[in-house]
C-alpha cells in the first residue's frame, strides 16, 4: 500500500458526500453565531420575545420567497425526517379520519426511509395499505400505472407521497405531472424535495403539491432544522402535541436562530442554483468519463433518465462498495456507498434493489454528490485515487466465494 503514502491527497481530504450533509456556508456560520446571541422565546410577549419572533418570521418569509410559497405555508421542524413523518402520518390521519374508506397510500419503494418507514408503520400498526408505483431500470416512475390506480381507487386513496429527486441515484421525478393526475380526484400529494432543493428549480406554488419536505443542512445550514411546506388549504393531524407553536400543527419552541440560518442557506442555494447546476454537470461528465476509462463495465445509474447534475451513482459489478469506500477514504477522498444503516454498515440499498438489481450488484455501489463548495480539483483528486482503489476493491471482491 505504498501508494497511500505517495499520494499527495492524504492530508487534503476531499468531501464528495454532500447528499449526506453539506458543509455549513461561511456566511451562514457567521450569521448563525450572531443569531444565537438573541435571547427570547418567539412566543413571549415582551420585547425579547418579539425580537426572536421577528427573526423567526423573517426566516419564514425568506424561505417562502425562495421556494415560491406563502409565508404561512412554512412550518419549521427539526429536519427532514420530522417533516416527512408529519406529512405522511398527519395527512393519513386527517384524511382517514374524515373518510374511513381512505386507507391507501400511494408511494414508491425507492423513497427515503423517513417516508418509507412512516408508510410501513401506518400499514403494520394503523391498518393502512400501500401501493408502490412501479419503476423502470432507471428509476423512472410508471405514470400510466399511477393514473390507473387513481382512476380505479381514487375514493380509497388517503395521499400520494413521491420524492422530487432521489437522494441515492439522483433520478428526478415529474412532480408537476403527478400533481396534475391527482388534482382531478382532489388527492393531496406530498413530496420529499430535500435532494432537489438547490440543485434543480423548486417552486412550491407551481408544483401543485399539497405538502413538501425540505431541510437546511443539505444546502449549508446547521443540522437540526427543516421545514414542511403545507398548502394553506391543507389540514393535517399533528404528530407532536403541545403548545401548537407552528400553525397549530407542530408544537415545541421554534429555534429562531436555526430557522434564520436555514433561511439564509436556502436563499443562497436557490440564488446560485442555476450556476451550480451548470458547474456540477461539467464535473459529473468529467467524473463519469474518467471512471468509465478505468472501469468500462461500470453502470451509471439512471443514465437515461432526467437526473440531478450533482449526483453520480455507480454500480460496479464484482466489487464491494465498502472496499471501494475504504480505499478511497484512506486516500483522502470521502464518498458514499449510497446507503447507510445505523450500525454504519453498507447493506444492499433498497433503492438499488428496487431498480431490479440483484443483491450482489446492489453491494457494489458508489455515490458521489457535489455541493456548494465542490470544485474541479475535487474531481481531479477523485480520478487520481480511483484507479488503484478500483483495482484493489476488485481484487478484494474476487475473494468472495
Amino acid at each position: 500500500m505504498a501508494w497511500v503514502e505517495e499520494t499527495r491527497l492524504k492530508d487534503m481530504p476531499v468531501y464528495l458526500d454532500h447528499a449526506a450533509t453539506s458543509p455549513i456556508r461561511p456566511s451562514v456560520l457567521a450569521h448563525y453565531s450572531k443569531a444565537l446571541e438573541q435571547v427570547g422565546n418567539p412566543a413571549s410577549v415582551h420585547s425579547f420575545g418579539q425580537s426572536s419572533r421577528q427573526m423567526l418570521e423573517e426566516a419564514r418569509e425568506t424561505i417562502a420567497a425562495s421556494i415560491g410559497c406563502d409565508r404561512n405555508e412554512v412550518i419549521f421542524t427539526s429536519g427532514g425526517t420530522e417533516s416527512d413523518n408529519l406529512a405522511v402520518k398527519g395527512l393519513y390521519w386527517q384524511r382517514h379520519g374524515q373518510d374511513r374508506n381512505r386507507t391507501l397510500i400511494v408511494t414508491s419503494s425507492a423513497e427515503h426511509a423517513a417516508v418509507l418507514d412512516a408508510v410501513n408503520w401506518l400499514v403494520t400498526e394503523q391498518g393502512a395499505e400501500a401501493h408502490f408505483v412501479s419503476m423502470n431500470d432507471d428509476g423512472v416512475l410508471d405514470l400510466a400505472e399511477l393514473a390507473e390506480v387513481l382512476e380505479k381507487r381514487s375514493d380509497q386513496i388517503a395521499l400520494i407521497t413521491l420524492m422530487w429527486a432521489n437522494n441515492e441515484i439522483g433520478v428526478v421525478h415529474p412532480i408537476q405531472k403527478i400533481t396534475e393526475l391527482a388534482r382531478a380526484y382532489e388527492i393531496p400529494v406530498h413530496s420529499d424535495a430535500i435532494a432537489a432543493l438547490g440543485h434543480i428549480p423548486v417552486n412550491f406554488a407551481a408544483s401543485g403539491l399539497s405538502a413538501m419536505t425540505i431541510t437546511g443542512h443539505k444546502v449549508g445550514s446547521p443540522v437540526g432544522v427543516g421545514a414542511l411546506i403545507l398548502a394553506r388549504s391543507e389540514k393535517l393531524t399533528p404528530v407532536f402535541h403541545g403548545g401548537g407553536q407552528e400553525r397549530n400543527l407542530r408544537s415545541g419552541t421554534p429555534d429562531a436562530a436555526a430557522a434564520s440560518a436555514m433561511a439564509l442557506a436556502v436563499k443562497e442555494a436557490v440564488g446560485e442554483q442555476a450556476e451550480l447546476e451548470a458547474l456540477h454537470a461539467i464535473l459529473s461528465v468529467k467524473l463519469v468519463s474518467g471512471v468509465r476509462e478505468v472501469a468500462p463495465e461500470v453502470k451509471f445509474s439512471s443514465e437515461h433518465a432526467p437526473r440531478l447534475a450533482n449526483n453520480v451513482h455507480f454500480r460496479f459489478p464484482g466489487c464491494l462498495g465498502d472496499s471501494l469506500l475504504y480505499l478511497m477514504d484512506v486516500n483522502g477522498v470521502s464518498i458514499s456507498t449510497g446507503s447507510a444503516c445505523s450500525a454504519g454498515v453498507s447493506s444492499p440499498s433498497h433503492v438499488v434493489l428496487s431498480l431490479g438489481a440483484n443483491s450482489d450488484e446492489a453491494m457494489g455501489t458508489m455515490r458521489i454528490t457535489f455541493g456548494h463548495n465542490s470544485t474541479e480539483a475535487d474531481v481531479d483528486a477523485f480520478l487520481e485515487v480511483f484507479p488503484k482503489a478500483y483495482e484493489g476493491a476488485k481484487k478484494a471482491g474476487l475473494t468472495r466465494r
Binding site: D322, S323, V330, G392
Partner: protein, 368 residues
C-alpha cells in the same frame, strides 16, 4: 506492517488494536456486521453483533486514533456459520460455530479481503500466541492466561493463516491485566462483561432457537438395546452427554441418572444410557488440519494431548492419520463427546492440529 484490527466492541480486541498501534504498525479498525438485522442494545452475555457493540468498537477506535470501518459479512456468516450450525444439528451432530467463524469468516473471508486490500496481517484479541520454533516455523501456543486460553478455537488455523495472524494480547497473564490496561487507556469498554453465548442465538437457548428452523417431530427415547423408555418432542437439538430435560418416566433399574448417548436423526431416535456408557476410547474425523508444520510421519502413532471443548481439560492421547482420517485414542477413556465437536490436539502448549469429530467409539460398548 499494515495491520487490520478486527474489533468486536469488546475489551480484548480494543486493547489488542491499541497495542498494535503502540508497536508501531499502521492500523485500521474494522467491525464485522454479521447480522443483517442487528439488535440495538446488547443483551445477556453475547459479545458482538448489536449496534451497541459496533458503536463500542468505533468509540475504541476513535480513542486509539485509528480509522474505523464496518464491513458486512452477514451473508457469508449466514451461509458458512449459521446455516452450517442448523445443518449440523439436523444431522444429529453438535457443531462449534465459533470455530466455523474463525475458520471461514475471520481468518478466511476477512483475512483474504484484508490481504487483497493491501494489509499484511489481521489482528484480533484472542488469548493465544504465535511463536517460532528453532527453524523458524510458526507455531500456535496456549495463552498464559489459562482460564481465558482461546487456542482451542484457533486450532483450525493453517500455517498460511498463522503467517498473517497477530494476537497482541496472546501473552497476557490474565484478563484482569487487560481490563486494567483498557481502563488506563481510557477505553469505555474496560468494564464490558465477557461474552459466553453463541452470538446469533439471542436468549442462549439453542433448542428453542432451532425449533422453528428444523422440523422437530416427536419420537422415542430408547436404551442401547432399543427398548423404548420415553418420548421426546424432536431428537434434533439434544446433545450427547445431556442429562437434563429428558423427561423419562420410569427410573433406571440401577437408579442412576441417564444421559444422551447418541442421536439418530434418520430414525428420529434418542439413545440414552448410564454415565459410564458415555466414555469414549477413540475419536476420528476426516475434516482435519495441521496448525503450522505437519508432523513428519503422521501415519505413525504420536503421543499428544487432546481437548474436545473450548475450556475443557486436555487428555493424554495417541494420534495418527490413517485412511484419510485423523484417529485419536485417549490414554484413558474420556466422556461426553459428540460428533460435530472439534478435537484439538496439543504437543505441550503447542497446538498441533484439529479434526471435526465424525465418529466415536464407546469404551463400554467396545468391551461388550
Amino acid at each position: 506492517m499494515k495491520i487490520l484490527a478486527a474489533m468486536s466492541g469488546g475489551v480484548d480486541s480494543a486493547v489488542a488494536a491499541a497495542r498494535a498501534v503502540e508497536a508501531g504498525h499502521e492500523v485500521v479498525g474494522v467491525h464485522l456486521a454479521l447480522s443483517r438485522m442487528p439488535g440495538t442494545l446488547r443483551t445477556g452475555s453475547r459479545g458482538c453483533c448489536t449496534v451497541e457493540d459496533s458503536m463500542d468498537a468505533q468509540r475504541a477506535a476513535n480513542k486509539i486514533g485509528i480509522p474505523f470501518y464496518v464491513w458486512d459479512f452477514s451473508e457469508r456468516f449466514k451461509q458458512d456459520v449459521v446455516d452450517d450450525f442448523i445443518a449440523e444439528y439436523s444431522a444429529g451432530r453438535t457443531p462449534n460455530p465459533c470455530m466455523r467463524c474463525n475458520e471461514r469468516i475471520k481468518f478466511a473471508a476477512l483475512l483474504e479481503k484484508a490481504l487483497a486490500l493491501g494489509f499484511d496481517a489481521l489482528c484480533t484479541g484472542h488469548y493465544a500466541s504465535v511463536e517460532k520454533d528453532a527453524e523458524g516455523n510458526l507455531e500456535l501456543h496456549r495463552s498464559l492466561a489459562m482460564t481465558k486460553d482461546q487456542s482451542y478455537v484457533l486450532g483450525v488455523l493453517t500455517e498460511e493463516q498463522l503467517k498473517h495472524s497477530y494476537f497482541p494480547i496472546g501473552k497476557a497473564a490474565n484478563k484482569d491485566d487487560i481490563r486494567k490496561e483498557a481502563k488506563d487507556r481510557e477505553l469505555s469498554v474496560a468494564n464490558k462483561p465477557d461474552s459466553y453465548d453463541i452470538c446469533f442465538i439471542p436468549e442462549g437457548d439453542t433448542r428453542d432457537w432451532l425449533s422453528d428452523k428444523i422440523e422437530l417431530k416427536p419420537g422415542s427415547i430408547v436404551d442401547s438395546n432399543g427398548v423404548e423408555l420415553g418420548k421426546h418432542d424432536g431428537a434434533l437439538g439434544y446433545t450427547v452427554g445431556q442429562r437434563k430435560g429428558l423427561k423419562i418416566g420410569a427410573p433406571a433399574k440401577d437408579r442412576q441418572p441417564r444421559y444422551v448417548l447418541e442421536i439418530r436423526p434418520k430414525e428420529n431416535v434418542v439413545v440414552v444410557g448410564p454415565e459410564q456408557a458415555l466414555t469414549i476410547s477413540e475419536i476420528s474425523g476426516e475434516k482435519f488440519s495441521w496448525c503450522g508444520k505437519a508432523p513428519e510421519n503422521s501415519s505413525d502413532w504420536l503421543e499428544a494431548e487432546v481437548q474436545v471443548r473450548a475450556h475443557g481439560e486436555s487428555h493424554p492421547c495417541k494420534l495418527r492419520v490413517t485412511n484419510g482420517q485423523m484417529v485419536i485414542r485417549p490414554n484413558m477413556p474420556i466422556r461426553g463427546i459428540s460428533p460435530g465437536q472439534t478435537a484439538v490436539v496439543y504437543l505441550g502448549s503447542r497446538v498441533l492440529g484439529q479434526t471435526t469429530i465424525d465418529k466415536t467409539v464407546s469404551a463400554v460398548l467396545e468391551q461388550v
